[in-house]
């Protein structure tokens, strides 16, 4: 078995809001995340707002620096690289953003946008062929080569997301991290982009990390999935298994709240569940404690670690762990 493409170890990111005077507060956006991503796979990350999934995405492509922990990409610890080496390394991992209207510079033509990474990464001799490579890449993502001479505002949301995909792929990266790439798109266009991701994985052999709040999307596209809650990974495993038989109570809740076409409101109300407003930051203990239906006293003081549950899955829950012990 080949080694994993990305190995994330104990990754933590704190955000401190700086003040000119006085005390600064710290928010932990990402909390001790350890994760491996296999070559050629589509790894889905699912979670709600504030779960830290976007922070994780930005760290994976080194758009941000962690407070502690490391990201080993293809055998190299990217945050210990000197600045110039990291810059050169960036060609191997690229990102696709959520908002198709904010991720393309409105003042530049599409050809220049897609070619931008080449201007930094390509050698002097290869630069002459930038326009050819841009044209080829446009074709790859299903747009005509003439699109290069237009401005982003002349395209619809789905087309812009194709352009963003082309920009990410032009350096022939090994990894593309896509942060909610279909959330801003209409349903009828969403499927086109999901198919494009699948095609690109198959034809170019790119590894994808695909982030979404939508379980159905992840279920549709991902091989493996990581479920995030409050900056932590709570469950990792093959996508279909995780969604068919969630082991962590939070995954269970997500699964239960997703509305499919045969759901009916009022059939099994959520109201009965214990619900409290989160009381600030819990110091120890499980972050899901306050909402968890199966919590015990131990959960409020001891933080559950992510560990194998014996069925090839990783779960961070005392109650689940105790089943297998």
């Amino acid at each position: 078995m080949p080694p994993p493409l990305v190995e994330i170890a104990n990754l933590t990111r704190d955000f401190r809001n700086h003040r000119f005077f006085g005390i600064s507060q710290t928010t932990r956006a990402l909390d001790d995340v350890t994760l491996q991503i296999d070559q050629g796979s589509i790894f889905g990350i699912v979670g709600e707002s504030g779960s830290g999934k976007s922070t994780l995405a930005r760290l994976m492509v080194a758009l941000d620096r962690p407070t502690s922990g490391k990201v080993v990409f293809d055998g190299e610890d990217i945050f210990s690289l000197p600045a110039a080496a990291l810059r050169h390394h960036r060609r191997n991992f690229q990102m696709v953003f959520q908002d198709p209207f904010g991720s393309l510079d409105p003042r530049q033509k599409v050809g220049r946008i897609i070619g931008e990474p080449l201007h930094v990464f390509a050698s002097q001799s290869a630069r002459g062929r930038v326009s050819e490579r841009v044209a080829a890449m446009l074709e790859n993502v299903g747009l005509p080569a003439t699109a290069a001479d237009l401005y982003p505002h002349q395209f619809s949301g789905g087309q812009r997301q194709r352009i963003a995909m082309a920009r990410a792929l032009i350096t022939e990266p090994k990894l593309v991290v896509a942060d909610e790439p279909v959330s801003a798109l209409d349903l009828s266009v969403q499927a086109q982009i999901l198919n494009l991701v699948l095609d690109l994985r198959d034809t170019q052999g790119v590894t994808f990390v695909f982030i979404s709040h939508n379980l159905a999307v992840i279920d549709c596209i991902a091989d493996k999935v990581g479920v995030m809650h409050s900056g932590r990974l709570v469950e990792v495993g093959p996508a279909h298994e995780v969604f068919d038989q969630p082991r962590h109570p939070y995954t269970h809740e997500l699964r239960a709240s997703a509305l499919s076409l045969d759901n009916e409101i009022g059939a099994n109300p959520v109201a009965a569940r214990r619900r409290q407003t989160p009381l600030g930051k819990l110091t120890g203990g499980c972050a899901y404690y306050a909402q968890c239906p199966i919590a015990v006293a131990r959960c409020s003081v001891e933080r559950p670690q992510l560990r194998p549950d014996g069925t090839g899955r990783l779960v961070a829950c005392h109650q689940v762990a105790s089943v297998t012990e």
Binding site: H18, F20, R58, V61, L63, R87, H88, R90, R91, Q94, M95, F97, Q98, D99, G102, S103, L104, D105, P106, R107, Q108, I113, E116, P117, H119, V120, F121, A164, R167
Partner: protein, 286 residues
């Protein structure tokens, strides 16, 4: 989906108002610039030519705008004043604007403490009205065109730094900036290639508005005797001189004042028109 159309086709009334502002601004400013340039090679009479015999003659009896207490031709003086006023304003805005823009871009790119410090510094310089800093400078450097230019430019730096920093801060979190970072570009290159083009409309608008303000300030300074030294005429000094003859020769107070007001008015209209055309975000009312 929220209903917030930004620009709707057929919203004719506003688009006419927009372009009419722009046209008015362009025409007034253009005429002013033309007059200033013409004055370099031709004026009806030399602006410094003293003709005591014709002193304080009403408009149309001697020259288009009459003569002053020394019999100088007011029209010629207003024309040369246009050049003096415009050139000072342009120089001051060019210096202050470019320094301020660089400072603002830098502050927005650096974030954190450098940004906070830069903005604090702006607050402090901002607390000194340009007239007072010109007085301070004038007391030591002596009065003259450069005193006025430097005093105005010093005031322009924080103005531009703030506007540019504020606008650039809105751009920095955008995803296309993140994408450029992902493409391996550093903050300098990003500031020049992505941030600057995307805030250029705000800067252009600010330049026109600040040009108007600089003309006003220049006039104020020369009104107080802190501008260009005599005999070269300035609008401000012409007004200061007219104070003595308000009863006998009111036209002396009217012509230069009107010139200042028109110049500022034209530049403001131009700024408004540019703002409306360059970034048409005017929301529709519910």
């Amino acid at each position: 989906m929220s209903v917030r159309p930004t620009v709707l086709p057929g919203d004719k009334r506003t688009s006419v108002a927009r372009s009419s502002k722009l046209v008015a601004g362009l025409v007034i400013t253009g005429v002013l610039c033309a007059i200033a340039l013409v004055s370099l090679v031709w004026t009806p009479l030399p602006p410094t030519k003293i003709q005591i015999a014709y002193k304080l003659t009403a408009p149309l009896q001697q020259g288009l705008l009459g003569t002053d207490q020394l019999g100088r031709d007011v029209l010629s003086m207003v024309m040369v004043g246009a050049w003096n006023s415009l050139s000072t304003a342009v120089a001051a805005v060019a210096i202050g604007g470019s320094l301020g823009t660089v400072a603002g871009l830098f502050a927005a790119a650096a974030r954190g403490t450098p940004e906070a410090l830069a903005m604090r510094a702006c607050d402090i310089v901002f607390a000194l009205p340009p007239i007072l800093s010109a007085m301070m400078l004038g007391a030591f450097l002596g009065t003259g065109r450069w005193t006025a230019i430097i005093a105005i430019a010093v005031f322009m730096i924080p103005v531009f730094a703030r506007v540019v920093c504020g606008a650039a801060r809105q751009i920095w979190p955008r995803d296309y900036i993140q994408a450029a970072r992902g493409a391996g570009k550093g903050p300098m290159l990003i500031s020049i290639e992505h941030v600057l083009p995307n805030i250029s409309s705000q800067i252009i608008v600010q330049v026109t508005i600040q040009l108007g303000l600089a003309i006003l300030t220049e006039a104020s300074l020369s009104f107080l005797g802190l501008g260009m030294p005599p005999p070269s005429p300035t609008w401000g000094r012409m007004l200061a001189d007219s104070q003595t003859y308000l009863a006998q020769a009111p036209w002396l107070a009217v012509a230069p004042g009107l010139a200042i007001a028109l110049a500022v008015f034209g530049l403001n209209m131009l700024g408004d028109g540019l703002r409306d055309t360059l970034d048409p975000r005017t929301p529709l009312l519910r």
